[in-house]
Amino acid sequence: MPDVLVHLDRVKKVFPHQENAALEELTAQIMPGKVTGLVGPDGAGKTTLLRMMAGLMHLTAGTIKITGLDPIKDTSELRKIIGYMPQKFGLYEDLSVQENLNLHADLRDVTGHERKEEFQHLLKLTDLTGFTDRPAGKLSGGMKQKLGLACALLGRPKLLLLDEPGVGVDPISRRELWQVVRELVSQDIALVWSTAYLEEAELCDDVLLLSEGRMLFNGPPKAMTSRLEGRCFQLRDVAGSRREVLTRVLDRDEVLDAVIQGNSVRVVLRRNADKPKLEDLQAGPKAHWVPIPPRFEDAFLDVLGVKPPGKSPLADHLENLKKDGSTVIEATHLTKRFGDFTATDDVSFKVVRGEIFGLLGPNGAGKSTIFKMMCGLLQLTSGKALVTNIDLKTSASKARQHLGYMAQKFSLYGNLSVQQNLMFFSGAYGLDGEEQRQEVASMVQIFHLEPYLKASADSLPLGFKQRLALACAMMHRPDILFLDEPTSGVDPVTRREFWTHINSVVEKGVTVMVTTHFMDEAEYCDRIGLVFRGKMIAANTPDELKKMVRTEKNPEPSMEDAFIELVTKDRHEQN
């Protein structure tokens, strides 16, 4: 048993002018030769903890000892054994791969023979040998992360702190990144990997699960998931509206959590509870239960013990739109070039009324470009983007009156209060007087915003920010919703609540176009367009996409499997 590398003892951090502690009395140990996952949604305190370990931030209380040294007092000694990779890589985008490495080697006093050797070793490890002359800014997301990792590895650190290295990396590159990580820990490095993706926790040896500054769990991920053994099922072959079935499932007391997975509903039961009776769920004659293995996310929800609501009052607020199968959104040969770079390459698709259409792909694949062209925020190089047969780019504001738009990171006016935000957005959509007051009041009620009315939007907890953003997008009762990465970074409970709202408005006939890089979020969509390197490499229902990659070896492929398979196939066809 190797010695503990990092002792965290009642570590606490309170930022000035903030009521709640960013980190609350955290005690844990980090071992060499292991990947320790620092897992939790945005705002959980992951970056704060990493920065304190790296000696970049003072503690409010408690102690951190790294090989017996204090990160603030003994900075100079610890610098030699700690490698830190911040969220934005810390790369110089205009410098080449080699120049970035040189710079970091100089900073860390890696010289002479050792320097050459390490460069060779790291370039080989990260598979970047062929790209030494390329500017870092022109690397793909995955390659940037690997270069960042290589830079952090210079000087052979004993402790490697990686802040959300999985962000912006496509599933294939992420698998490669994990291979590198595995090789590192086999050399007895202690590696801390922070992530907001709960599924990444399952790949770690040890997990520190954080939520709102508190540690919910510390131990191997299996210990967490094994508690849910026998409580996870899939309701397969659902007939009729799966969204309605989901609502019924979520309404049952014995159910802890349920999400849509293609044509199935994935259900997690409460402790000692029995499966709900099939006839109560009205899921069609063929519906049946299949036991499935638990996921880390299930365990997280189990610890929190909060259940997302099944029904959304938002739907009662809308009138029924006729689902007449008419085409609402249509892209034909959509192409966008920035200089010699083709961001979107001949993409075509159609979305009909009352459908959720998802654009799925890693960051930088071109989802946002397609999305922006569809809602008229970006010029097309060629092709056509029509919404209700109107080109939003050229046409009048009248058409845009029917749109709701919610962007990544909830673009609200941060220094305006909740009330002022609601008043502004309703006003911008032409509401005034009594009508405006009523609409704002009902949004406040639906989204439980009452206690925050006077608070500035910036000061809201992430979940409430999201609610407010959705409220602002819905006040004028749009019949088309554009959602750009609507749940990125939020915790699973908030994400489910969000999808409950979306599902219910879709049942009313609202058409939704959404971009996401979450594989399980894609399962909510009626149809998915897989976007990779500016191309739509496949467009189909989630189940059909999975079916396309089904093999004897992998009879029940996940969305991620489907993605990786289809992308790899596409690459082969290209070559």
Binding site: T394, S397, R400, A407
Partner: protein
Amino acid sequence: MFKRIRALVIKELQTLFGDPQSRVLLFLPVILQTALFPFAVTLDVQNNTLAVLNHDAGPASIELIQRFGRAEAFTHYINLQSDQAMRSTIENQDALLVLFIPVDFSRKVASGREADIQAIVDGRRSNSGQIALGYVETIIQSYNNERLVQAGQTAPSQIILRHWFNPNLNYKFFVLPSLVAMITTISVLIVTSLSIAREREQGTFDQLLVSPLTPGMIMVGKTVPAVLVAMIQGTLILLAAVIFYGVPFEGSLVLLYVSIFFYAIAVSGIGLLISSVCETQQQAFLGVFTFMMPAVMLSGYAAPIDNMPGWLQVVTEANPLRHLIVIVKSIFLKGSSTGFMLDHLWPLLLIALITNLAANWMFRRKIA
């Protein structure tokens, strides 16, 4: 349409005045500049040092030096002893001006012959040096005249100087009205271009563009608060100028506000134009400075436009700041006729029209 623009304007005002930080940013410059500028930017030559190397011990030189000593421009006086000291005094900027009085000065004066004094001016401080030299010449002139009168001769004809509109040549009278123009320029540019850049950074700009608001409405929504801010700041400086600094206000208040109004629209057009090509606040900030520096240089505030080469004088016609400075100075100090005002108002209007059309065109081109 009006209710949508109203919503935009209210939002903008809430953002501007609701946030303590931006309140400070809007009003602190007004307070600081009205408090400091009139004292700092003085063109009077006062409190300077005069050095004299007097090789003459006669009565004429002593009387002349005493006269210099009484002048307000020179509060310090250095009596030099050698030629070397003369050189080092200028080199070390110990004195602005050195006078050299030759040995035979008094003798020549007494005998009625021509007597020369040499003056050495620090060329590095040419402006104040020239002005100081002017004072010296005046003093010598009056000394000469008095001597002639004493000698029973009539003095040659003299120029009698009166400064109209600013009888005491008080530079505060000149600086404060110009401040109205300067400060409103900065604020209008900040309110328009920086706020749009910030919206871009925060993603709220996209949110506006997908709403039924048209680019035109968004522009109006940004212009109205900018104009309001300009009016408020203009009023504050006007009050400070009249109450604290005693600057006369001779002209029409209505005309002043009308001019500020047109001016604010013209500058907000420039701000919007800058913002339409900038992605980040940093770029917008650089854009604002790119406009500000030449605008101030070519406004007639720092250097008289009449001294510029002809082609540059034509260029200044396109500078809204130049017109506003002429207008506010005349309204404050001479209460000019409406006709004279119109001569400078219509260029402002024309500039406002051009900048806003250009901004609108760029806006549509960049986003739509």
